[in-house]
């Protein structure tokens, strides 16, 4: 029983990371109907920036905040410079652009910071959480940071004029322009926010899996599975999906398939959802008259 509880709780900790990545994917998907395959690599690269700043002697939280700024600017710049010319391109060309972006950023991480695995510090104590057998302090801190970020993002969209304009631009770009919203910049902002959320996920993951250019590969896969499970056009659903995937993955790893085959869980979820309920658990089924 205790082992089960432990698996579920640490699954929730991982799930928070997947939820963040899922939310970042949904944010870009909602406004452009593109899935950003480079999301994980952007997060990894940002984490390297954080690592560099910490190595230069900056306090952890200062480096953390500066990294968020960097990740935001990087997201905006990628949208403005690389993605924007392809908005009218066919879907497959866009997929090719994103995969290219994935490879470029991955190679950049390797070329600049080399491919050796690096330890990345956790801002939280390394011992168990108040002697708890269930969770480490880092896992608790990870859940906490993730929840704070998710809450801030939702508050931004719910309560600020800019958040409202971004939702409007995603839903109806034509009407948005007619009330004066600069839709192009709203898309860029969405990319910036997605980059920022991804960076948090990267910095929370790195202390567990160690920092290397491929660190976010499987995380992106789980995040994608979470987004699909919850419904890729529904932010709440995607976040919930991320947490569910985290728990499922841990349980399957412990009781079903063993840790070696854990990644297959993500693939099974992705294929299963696409076959059985493509809109996801909470997504809308879009009916089009042809």
């Amino acid at each position: 029983m205790q082992a089960l509880l432990h698996q579920v709780l640490s699954g929730l900790a991982n799930g928070g990371i997947y939820a963040s990545v899922a939310l970042a994917l949904v944010m870009i998907y909602q406004s452009t109907h593109h899935v950003n395959f480079a999301q994980g690599e952007m997060a990894t690269f940002s984490t390297y920036i954080a690592w560099q700043m910490i190595n230069l002697g900056l306090p952890y939280w200062v480096a953390f905040l500066l990294t968020l700024v960097f990740a935001f600017v990087m997201g905006v710049a990628i949208e403005r410079i690389i993605v924007r010319p392809f908005y009218k391109a066919p879907a497959l060309s866009v997929v090719a652009v994103f995969i290219g972006l994935l490879l470029v950023i991955n190679s950049l991480s390797g070329a600049i910071f080399d491919y050796t695995i690096k330890p990345f510090p956790s801002p939280f104590p390394t011992d168990a959480w108040y002697g708890s057998p269930y969770l480490s302090s880092h896992e608790v801190g990870m859940i906490f940071v993730t929840l704070v970020v998710l809450a801030l993002v939702f508050a931004f969209f719910r309560f600020t004029p800019l958040g409202l304009a971004m939702r409007a631009a995603a839903e109806n770009p034509v009407s948005s322009r007619l009330v004066g919203v600069r839709v192009g910049w709203m898309l860029a902002l969405g990319w910036g926010l997605a980059g920022l959320i991804g960076a948090v996920a990267g910095m929370m993951t790195a202390p567990i899996v160690y920092l290397d250019p491929y660190m976010m590969f499987s995380v992106l896969l789980y995040g994608f599975a979470g987004a699909l499970l919850g419904g890729i056009d529904n932010a709440w659903g995607a976040v919930l999906g991320g947490f569910i995937v985290g728990v499922l993955q841990n349980l399957a790893g412990a009781y079903l398939v063993g840790t070696e085959l854990m990644v297959t869980v993500a693939l099974v979820i992705i294929v299963g959802i696409l076959v059985i309920k493509p809109a996801g658990l909470f997504g809308r089924t879009i009916v089009t008259r042809v």
């Binding site: 939702r167 409007a168 322009r177 007619l178 009330v179 004066g180 919203v181």
Partner: protein, 237 residues
């Protein structure tokens, strides 16, 4: 005093397909002009051309004696041009109140809160439904919402694209009565595109008749509306 809106030799095209051919049109300060014509005559295109939306244009567009052709849509809105588009352009997943807040998106003054009440004064039904998702409103209510959203801009000019479309006659009358009130109380100029010539001529003081992209006749609404041959040939009643 110069006209609020002036089109001089305005042509517009979608890609290679030319739709408007050298149109001249003027809306006086606080005046109401209606643009009548059959389907495909270029009425909606005229409104899109003024806002620089989706069409390629040539010619001159003056708003308050300032050239605005070539300006981005978002900047034209900021000058005080409120557009009530065809199909109403509702943000269906947002609440009524959020739709209205978006209407005031470009404003930085502190009177926005009062303007909610001003707009609800014209359309009390929207106030009852302000927390409701806009997509769940009836067609008439969505049309009211579209007009209200444009009013939140405090526009000098309203571009109205078939506000009667698909609505029951009683609702249409209610909406046109309120448009009249808005024009009288706030001095907002209006350019009204309509298929329903009867009710449009009643509201407008000037009318333009559009046929395949050209203005074939214009003059005071009363004159146009009472001309038997015009009515039979163009207005179909």
């Amino acid at each position: 005093m110069s006209a609020l809106l002036e089109l001089r030799g305005l042509s517009a095209a979608y890609g290679p397909t030319s739709v408007l051919r050298s149109i001249d049109l003027a809306v006086e300060q606080g005046g109401i002009v209606t643009l009548l014509g059959a389907n495909g005559a270029g009425k909606t295109t005229t409104l899109r051309a003024i806002c620089n939306m989706m069409v390629r244009i040539s010619g001159e567009i003056r708003f308050n004696d300032q050239r605005i052709d070539g300006n981005a849509t978002e900047d034209i809105v900021r000058l005080g041009v409120g557009h009530v588009p065809d199909g109403r352009g509702t943000f269906v997943s947002l609440s009524v109140e959020e739709n209205l807040r978006l209407g005031a998106y470009t404003r930085r003054d502190r009177q926005v809160a009062q303007d909610f009440e001003r707009v609800y004064g014209y359309f009390p039904r929207l106030k009852e439904r302000r927390r409701q998702q806009a997509g769940t409103l009836s067609g008439g209510e969505q049309q009211m919402l579209a007009i209200s959203r444009a009013l939140m801009l405090r526009p000098k000019l309203l571009l109205l694209d078939e506000p009667s479309f698909g609505l029951a006659p009683l609702i249409v009358q209610e909406i046109f009565r309120i448009l009249r009130a808005i024009n009288e109380q706030e001095g907002v100029g209006m350019l009204l595109v309509e298929q329903n010539a009867n009710i449009a001529l009643e509201l407008a003081d000037q009318a333009y008749l559009l046929e395949t992209g050209r203005v074939v006749m214009h003059g005071p609404s009363a004159v146009i509306g009472s001309d038997e041959s015009v009515r039979r040939a163009y207005l179909g009643y």
